[in-house]
Amino acid sequence: MEWEGESSHSVVLVLGLGNPLRRDDGIGPRVIQELQQRDLPEGIEVIDGGTGGLDILRVIEGWENVLVVDAANVDGGRGEIAPGEFVRFTPDEARLGASPEGFSLHHAGLAEALALARALERPLPSIVVFGVQPSDVGWGEGLTPEVEQSLPALCEAVLKEAMQR
């Protein structure tokens, strides 16, 4: 079980975001679940952040490196992204869908949390996002086959990134 607070010697946090009751939106928590089954190298911690909204900020502050796994509607720039495919990017490389005027905590996620941190000039860790294109984010449990299929490759990519830190 992941446990907040036992992380004083760890250097990389893998944070899974999303709601496992909304099909592919649960990819983040699912990756965390998969990684928990493994013997993780020392220095890597995992947390299922669920739909914590602005709490993301509290969770990531103080870490050197944070790898975020989240469902993401990836659009433009890098060609068409099919459901189940994922892209790796840093927040600087992408315009995240924060909408300052329509700030709704229901939809608050990584984008809003980072926007708030930047607006307040708070120090942030080095962040890498693994955005996974969902096929279905309607109500229901379990990933769609397209996203399920990419799970092993996604976990490997996240772990590889974590071990390079």
Partner: protein
């Protein structure tokens, strides 16, 4: 006479999606309502057929803001069905975890969703330029409450250590002492919060209604108790359907509820009105700063009651930690359930108001039936009747002002529409 058409689609700074629809011609109001539009969630369907150990973890995913509230209420309903008794230590930890979430939710609502209205800011982002220390204070309080939840529940948003029978993990005395210090230090931020919000010009609007919350003989009720109404009624939580009386309305995917009048209100103001005497003295001082004495009938003051409750929760959390330390904190396993067929109803007063979970289990501990009635649903009818009474009082004001005032009224209820919509009802036999 005014001709007015206000249609606010997806009211911002409200959790989820809701629309305000107003149509008035020559001063005559043809339409005035708040609609809920987000698709139903069917969350009871998620728990049916699942083992009793999983329900509180599943229901904690319903809402990222009330995760501890759902998880606690769910575990309590299961514990009732299985006849599980908690240790005193576990009961204290449940309350401590709950206070963390109440502070967290209230600071989010009052500072980030309500305060921008009073500063003429469209959201918390322009508020940073207008009054940066206020936004930073909110984030500081939010960190404290999140850390408090994480210390007890293992994780803030979806408390993994909160299980049927108690907790799978116990915080250490050192952790509790360190948290106590931070809570004591937070008094300064609480004082500043009261000063800030008491200085605001709250909209003036009164409408008498029924206020329903939990109540306890020995404390300001959040976790368990009996159902209490300002109209003088009391019920055990098992009889919740006598209070909720859900009914479908055509324009909303949330059912409306009513009890002694055509609607009732739940939430911080309802708790304040029913349980004022049990507030911590510092919280009573805060109420005095707002000029609040029960029964307060201005729904806009729900947000002020939240500030009062933040003060109470900080003080009560300090007292709970003192009690835990005085008793001596020891790691303990959760009480093991005697798995059997049964039915359980539980209720907690979560940040937005009274919440009910009701489960039926088969002899192997698998959920057969489930019902869950959330606070936002219970407030829908009352909010609509407030809007209908408020609108004629403000209808001659500029359209933007009418629109903002109606939006502020919706926000005052702190609705969480994303979890309020569900069609499934299950009759228990």
């Amino acid at each position: 006479m005014s001709t007015l058409s206000v249609n606010v689609h997806h009211v911002t700074r409200v959790e989820g999606h809701g629309n305000i629809v107003v149509d008035a011609q020559n001063g005559e109001i043809k339409e005035c309502r708040f609609e809920v539009v987000e698709a139903p969630r069917f969350f009871e369907a998620f728990v049916r057929g699942r083992p009793y150990t999983e329900l509180n973890h599943i229901t904690s995913r319903i809402c990222g803001i009330c995760a501890v509230g759902h998880s606690t209420t769910s575990a309590m309903a299961t514990e009732k069905a299985m006849g599980v008794k908690l240790t005193e230590q576990a009961q204290l930890l449940r309350k401590l975890n709950f206070h963390g979430e109440t502070i967290d939710s209230h600071v989010l609502h009052t500072y980030y969703l309500v305060a921008p209205d009073f500063f003429g800011a469209g959201s918390v982002f322009p508020l940073i330029d207008i009054n940066r220390p206020v936004v930073e204070r909110a984030l500081r309080i939010k960190k404290l409450s999140g850390d408090l939840c994480a210390m007890v529940g293992g994780r803030h948003t979806h408390p993994c250590a909160l299980v049927v029978g108690g907790f799978s993990h116990t915080p250490t005395e050192d952790e509790l002492r360190a948290m106590r210090k931070r809570l004591v230090a937070a008094r300064e931020d609480m004082d500043a919060s009261v000063e800030l919000f008491a200085s605001l010009e709250w909209p003036q609007f009164e409408r008498e209604t029924e206020y329903i919350s939990l109540s306890k003989d020995d404390e300001y009720a959040f976790v368990g108790g009996k159902i209490k109404s300002t109209d003088g009624f009391e019920y055990p939580v098992e009889e919740y359907k006598q209070v909720t009386n859900e009914e479908l309305v055509p324009f909303s995917s949330a059912k409306w509820t009513s009890h002694n009048r055509k609607s009732y209100m739940v939430g911080a103001l309802a708790r304040f009105n029913n349980n004022f005497d049990q507030l911590h003295p510092k919280a009573k001082d805060a109420a005095a700063a707002f000029g609040m004495e029960p029964i307060v009938t201005n729904p806009f003051m729900n947000s002020a009651a939240q500030v009062v409750e933040m003060v109470h929760c900080v003080e009560d959390a300090i007292e709970i930690i003192d009690e835990l330390l005085a008793r001596g904190v020891k790691p303990e396993d959760p009480t093991v359930a005697d798995v059997k067929a049964g039915e359980g109803v539980a209720s907690c007063d979560v940040p937005r108001g009274i919440l009910f979970h009701h489960y039926g289990y088969d002899e192997e501990g698998y959920c057969q039936d489930a019902n869950c009635i959330i606070p936002t649903n219970q407030n829908m009818a009352n909010l609509n009747y407030d809007m209908q009474e408020l609108l004629p009082q403000i209808i001659d004001k500029p359209q933007d002002e009418v629109r903002l005032t109606l939006e502020m009224l919706v926000r005052a209820y702190d609705p969480c529409i994303s979890c309020s919509a569900h069609f499934l009802t299950v009759e228990f036999v």
